[in-house]
Structures are given as C-alpha cells and as structure tokens.
C-alpha cells in the first residue's frame, strides 16, 4: 500500500537536498576527452534503482566528450547498458565516442584477462559483431592501462570487490562505484582506504542529485513512500512486540 503513495503525492520535504551522496556525484567529473571504461554489472531487478545513476553518469560523460567503453560482468548487464544509452543524443556516435565491448564471463578470471588487453577479452563488439580494431575508439586504446577511469554500476558489493581486487590492485586506475543501497555499506572500507575514488548508493544519491535541479512528481512521492514504509514497519513491529509482552505477562 505504501508503494502506491508515489502515484498520488506531489511534494515531499523528506528528500535531503545537498546531502553527502549528491555532493559526491556533483564533484564527479572526468577531464575533457578522457577514456572511461563503464561496466554495467546489474540486471533488470536493480534497474529501477541504478538506471537513474546511469543516466546521470552518461549525461556527465557525454557533456565532457569522454570516450566510453561499455562492458558488463553480469550476464544481463548489456541489456541494462542498451537501455541506458538509448536516450543519448545523436552527436554521441557509436564507434567514435562509445562502443559496446560486451559481456565478460568468468568473474575473477575474466577481469584478469582484461589486464592482458581489451582485444584479448573481447573479440568483437556487442552491437554489430565487428572486430574491435575496426572502430576508431578501440583501435586507439588496445590496453587497459590506457583507460583513464573505470566506473562500475553494480547491484552487489561482491562485483565491485572483484574489480578492486583483480583490476585496481594491479593497475591503480581510479575506480568509481555506483551501487545499490544494499551494497554501499559493504564498500565503505574500500572507499575510506582510497581504493575506490567515488562511492554513491542507489536511488537516494540519484534523488538528492536530481533535487539540486528539479524532481518529478514520481520522485517526490517515491521517497515519501519509503519513509512511510519505514514508519509502517516500525509501528507493526512495535504493536506485535507489545502484544506479545501483554500475552506473556497474562500467562505469568
């Protein structure tokens, strides 16, 4: 029932505009013309939460004319990538500004293979199945250490942990993690130690960032719905606990 609130609600004062996550996203930037490896490590189950962050990051990358190599270590991740890139404006040309490298299987072994070169891990591009060296962007960047930044959009902390352990520990390329709310606390130690440069969690970060501009009606109601859920769960647990306490007292 609480999840129905966003359909009807117009305003909500509970979104923390200017909170920590929004400051992190706001300061996130790459130099003009940088090469970024963007990994979509989430499937449709977490799309509602992470698509917002993906849209923010893609807007930032396109506005700074970054060259983007898109991949995924999640079997359903390339579908999420296709969906996220479907709305970009035409001047961001496939092959010139971005390429879909594809799905990289094998988890730890796959990421280690990435260290040997993009052409070793990916034979052809995902969208048109053409050799990678036929695109200007990938013919200029044969090795991973020529990438300026790695950005991982992940549903689980284990996925980002693999990137830190297998890639970041070997190359020290700056790694940014945009993750689900569930995964964010588990990655805090990596962020505090400096192994992850940027850490932002799910829809609260996206909502806070978007609130610096303007929010849609659904976004406002969305966060109010979550607050309502928290209150509902708390009240339910309280009522059950009091009821059990009263019953237990009567039996004594």
């Amino acid at each position: 029932l609480v999840a129905l609130i966003p359909i009807f609600v117009h305003q909500n004062p509970l979104v923390n505009i200017g909170g920590g996550s929004s400051a992190v996203l706001d300061s996130f930037s790459v130099p003009e013309g940088s090469t970024v490896l963007l990994s979509f490590d989430y499937g449709p189950a977490y799309a509602a939460e992470l698509d917002r962050l993906a849209a923010i990051i893609i807007n930032k990358l396109t506005s700074q004319s970054a060259q983007v190599l898109v991949m995924s270590t999640h079997p359903l991740g390339m579908g999420s990538a296709e969906h996220a890139f479907s709305g970009i404006f035409p001047r961001f040309a496939y092959g010139e500004h971005y390429v879909f490298l594809g799905y990289l299987p094998g988890e730890e072994a796959g990421l280690r293979l990435l260290l040997n070169g993009l052409g070793t891990a990916f034979i052809r591009d995902y969208r048109f199945q053409q050799p990678l060296n036929s695109y200007p962007i990938t013919s200029r960047i044969p090795a991973l250490d020529q990438v300026d930044r790695v950005i991982v959009l992940a549903e689980s902390a284990e996925s980002v942990q693999r990137w830190v352990e297998q890639v970041n520990s070997q190359t020290h390329i700056p790694l940014d993690a945009l993750v689900s709310v569930l995964a964010e606390p588990q990655l805090e130690p990596y962020y505090l130690s400096g192994q992850i440069t940027t850490l932002a969690g799910g829809w609260p970060a996206a909502l806070e960032y978007q609130a610096l501009g303007s929010l849609s009606k659904a976004d406002w109601g969305f966060s109010l719905g979550l607050a309502g859920l928290v209150v509902l769960v708390f009240v339910t647990v309280l009522v059950i606990s009091i009821k059990q306490w009263i019953i237990h007292g009567k039996h004594r």
Partner: protein, 230 residues
C-alpha cells in the same frame, strides 16, 4: 501517445506478466508458477544465446580462420567438452581435469586478489590512519582509533560466538567473560548486522515495487487513451 505494433505488444505482455506475478498475493496458483518457470527459462535461454553469440562463436571462428595463432582456444574448447562428460556415468572421471583447473584457478585468483586487493591495503590503511600525528593534531585521529578498537572488539566477539568449547571447567571468571563476549555480544552483533542487511534489501527492492505500480498505472492510462482515440 502513439505506439508501434512491437512496442504495444511488448507493453501488453509486460503488463500481463506483472499482474501474473502479483497474483501470488492471492496464494500459490498455477498462473504464478507458470510465470516463474517462464522467467527462469527465459533468463537461461537469453544467457545461453548471449554467451554463444558474443563469447564462444567469435573464438570458434578465430580458431578455424587462424589455427596456428589461436590453437589455445582449441584446448579450452576440448576442456569444456570434457566437462560435459560429467553427465555420462561411464565417462565421469574425464570431467575431473577441467573441474580441477577451474577450482584451482578460481581459488588462486580469489586468494591472490583478497591478499593484494583487500587484506594488505585495508590493514595498511588502518595502520597509517593511526599515526601519532593525527592523534596529536585533531579529534579525527582519536575517532579513527576508537573506530579501529570497536572494529577489533566486534570482529573478535563475532568470531567468539562460533566457539563451541569453553576454556576450561575450573576457569569460572574466564568462562563468564568468554560467554558474555562471544555468545552475548557476538551473537547480538550478528543479529544487528542481519537486521541491517535485511533493511538494506527492503530499501533496494522498494524502488522496484514502486516502478511496477507506476508501470501498471501508465499502461492502464495508455490503454484507456488508445480506446478513447479509436
């Protein structure tokens, strides 16, 4: 709003499947079980098609076109085929080789990555954050020290909660301390952690639920509009 035929069919299918999943609220039923099987089969088929198209087939082509340069792909494919023999009762032992390589390689990469990527950097970060300079200059150093002490106490308490045997019968004070530290504090911390993880999971899945409600509302609105226009 105008629709292409494909988009319209896709929207209707998604709408029906969403309602079929929500039918579980009424109790276990055949519609929900059918959709559950459909999703599992669809996901498995999609992943198989994706791996065949983007991972295996390009490498098969390379092996055929340039066998001298890519002969190692032949070895990998042979090991993969040996793995299939695990389903045959007479040839099960042949699957041991590729399984051994898989487990050995996985363990080596996981251990090596954990050492180089987690254990050493995290320990180094903890030690350097406790430098005497930071303790002298401001409160943040002392807060880090307190944080580190709490982490150590919490880790030892949780590890102690899995201890089965107590130190010794005659050591009453030690037993009492160990019982409190391990079984009370440790288990309490585990329960709090599980509760936090569960709360995080609820928060993560809430947007999905809201998204589905918004989709249902939008679809009904679009259908009413289409019927009105026609």
């Amino acid at each position: 709003m105008t629709f292409g035929t494909t988009a319209f069919i896709g929207m209707i299918i998604a709408f029906v499947l969403t309602l079929a999943v929500f039918s579980r609220l009424l109790g276990d039923n055949i519609v929900y079980r059918f959709v559950q099987c459909l999703f599992i089969g669809l996901t498995s088929g999609y992943i198989l098609a994706l791996v065949m198209r983007t991972v295996i087939w390009p490498r098969v082509l390379l092996l055929i076109q340039q066998p001298m340069q890519y002969w190692h792909y032949g070895v990998f494919f042979a090991l993969g085929l040996l793995l299939l023999s695990s389903g045959l009762s007479r040839a099960k032992q042949w699957a041991s080789l590729p399984l051994g390589i898989l487990f050995g390689l996985g363990a080596a990469l996981t251990l090596g990555g954990a050492l180089a990527g987690t254990l050493i950097p995290q320990t180094y970060s903890l030690v350097t954050s406790l430098q005497s300079n930071s303790l002298r200059t401001n409160w943040s150093g002392w807060l880090l020290l307190l944080n580190g002490i709490l982490v150590i106490i919490g880790t030892l308490a949780v590890l102690g909660s899995f201890q089965v045997a107590l130190p010794g019968r005659g050591m009453k004070v030690t037993n009492a301390i160990w019982t409190f530290f391990g079984r009370t504090l440790g288990r309490g911390l585990i329960m709090v952690t599980l509760g936090a993880l569960y709360a995080g999971a609820l928060v993560s899945f809430f947007p999905l639920l809201v998204g589905r409600f918004m989709f249902i509302r939008q679809t009904i609105s679009d259908l009413i509009h289409l019927i009105g226009v026609s």
